[in-house]
């Protein structure tokens, strides 16, 4: 009886101390963790948008299209609309979701894209985050581009041996750009 009581007491004590320690550390790190996540997102937004002087991370417009909610981060310079960024997600990749941040300028063509997260094969599909693949999206609009990889008769050069990953990115960017182009006036007209 005394022995099992000792077991209970010791284990309880250790767990309590451990729990208390974790509570303190969580308290200390909660703010930096949240700040790091916000900064990471804002950095990605700023990288794909044209030059602007507002904070696009907080200038948000949501649009519902085909049962999906798209969040647009609006960029302004001296109050005038200069572009919008949005996050496009594809589940058509080779391994897990591909998350892409796409920036669009006021004319409706792509400013830049940035791959935020992916689990594609290192050395093959992982090159979707490389400049040589991402760069070719710049300046493309819905009207003047055949949105498919070259293998499927489109304008985007796929990465050799990574057609599936290339196709996934192309389709995700197009889907978002479709919504963005269709709602351009609403985005431009929105006041902060």
């Amino acid at each position: 009886m005394m022995e099992s009581l000792k077991l209970v007491v010791v284990l309880t004590l250790i767990c309590t101390v451990g729990g208390a320690l974790l509570a303190v550390v969580h308290d200390v790190t909660a703010a930096p963790i949240a700040a790091a996540a916000v900064k990471e997102k804002n950095d990605a937004i700023m990288q794909v948008l044209p030059e602007c002087d507002n904070n696009p991370g907080e200038d948000v417009v949501t649009v519902d299209a085909d049962g999906q909610t798209w969040t647009f981060y609006v960029a302004r310079k001296a109050g005038a609309f200069v572009g919008a960024a949005f996050e496009a997600v594809s589940n058509q990749g080779y391994g897990g979701d591909i998350v892409i941040m796409v920036g669009v300028n006021a004319e409706g063509s792509v400013q830049a894209i940035e791959v935020l997260a992916h689990k594609e094969t290192p050395g093959l599909g992982a090159w979707i985050s490389g400049e040589s693949f991402r760069g070719q999206f710049a300046g493309r609009s819905i009207a003047e581009t055949k949105w498919a990889v070259a293998k499927d008769g489109g304008d985007i050069d796929q990465i050799t041996a990574a057609t599936i990953s290339s196709r996934a990115v192309t389709q995700a960017v197009k889907a978002g750009l479709d919504v963005c182009t269709a709602n351009m006036t609403a985005l431009a007209g929105n006041q902060p």
């Binding site: 010791v10 284990l11 250790i14 451990g18 790190t29 909660a30 963790i33 290192p122």
Partner: protein
């Protein structure tokens, strides 16, 4: 003197990866690059030293019957602390290691050292053991990571600033994929046994590797004969 002995044994003689063959899960999973290997090694070293200290201090208070749950709680606490601190203050590193941090909890090296060493030895020796084993683990991971990154990516990059490329080499992608981990580890283990066998022969003694690592007890190739 014993402090020094416990410190250096982890580097070579009882290297956790190449001699004890513990912690194979992170050793195979994160060694796709030197950067990941170093990060994982340092995180595991921190947890190892902390858990060794705590377990050594309380080694006489922890009843033998519940020692494993106690060790696990202590280790899990430190792992979560590392996870939170890294997420808050080294966010980039956390992004690439995030998946593997929780795995340190079940990393056999840490529980193994707690059970085999810290729970039986005084504080100072346990700290030495933790530091030595941690550095040995980090070294092992880094050697493995460097081998795989050079062969698989053709270059070594550490925190974006230090980049070293092998000119004119076509990377063998297999090496940074999962099978490459097994191939590289197997070749390194075999190579180390071979080197030690040669060294022992020169000294006129007979080298006996740990039974489970002994090439001579295996008949897969002609070297086993």
């Amino acid at each position: 003197m014993t402090f020094y002995k416990e410190l250096v044994k982890g580097l070579w003689k009882e290297n956790p990866i190449f001699r004890l063959v513990l912690g194979m899960c992170p050793a195979l999973a994160v060694t796709t690059s030197v950067e990941n290997s170093l990060g994982m090694g340092m995180a595991a070293t921190f947890v190892l030293i902390c858990s060794n200290i705590v377990i050594s201090i309380f080694r006489n208070l922890i009843p033998a019957k519940v020692r494993i749950p106690c060790f696990i709680v202590v280790i899990a606490t430190f792992v979560t602390i590392v996870d939170l601190l890294m997420n808050g203050f080294a966010h980039e590193l956390h992004n690439s290691l995030g998946l593997f941090i929780p795995l340190i909890v079940v990393n056999c090296i840490i529980l193994g050292r707690a059970e085999a060493f810290a729970s039986r030895h005084p504080l100072w020796l346990s700290i030495a053991d933790g530091i030595g084993m941690g550095i040995g683990f980090t070294l092992g991971l880094t050697v493995l990571g460097a081998t795989r990154e050079i062969l698989g990516a053709g270059s070594i990059t550490v925190w974006g600033d230090l980049k070293w490329t092998v000119a004119g080499y076509e990377p063998m992608i297999l090496m940074i994929l999962a099978p490459g981990g097994f191939i590289a580890l197997g070749c390194l283990l075999g190579g180390m046994n071979h080197l030690q066998a040669i060294a022992a022969k020169r000294k006129g003694t007979i080298f006996t590797p740990p039974a489970h690592l002994d090439c001579r007890s295996c008949v897969m190739c002609k070297f086993g004969k």
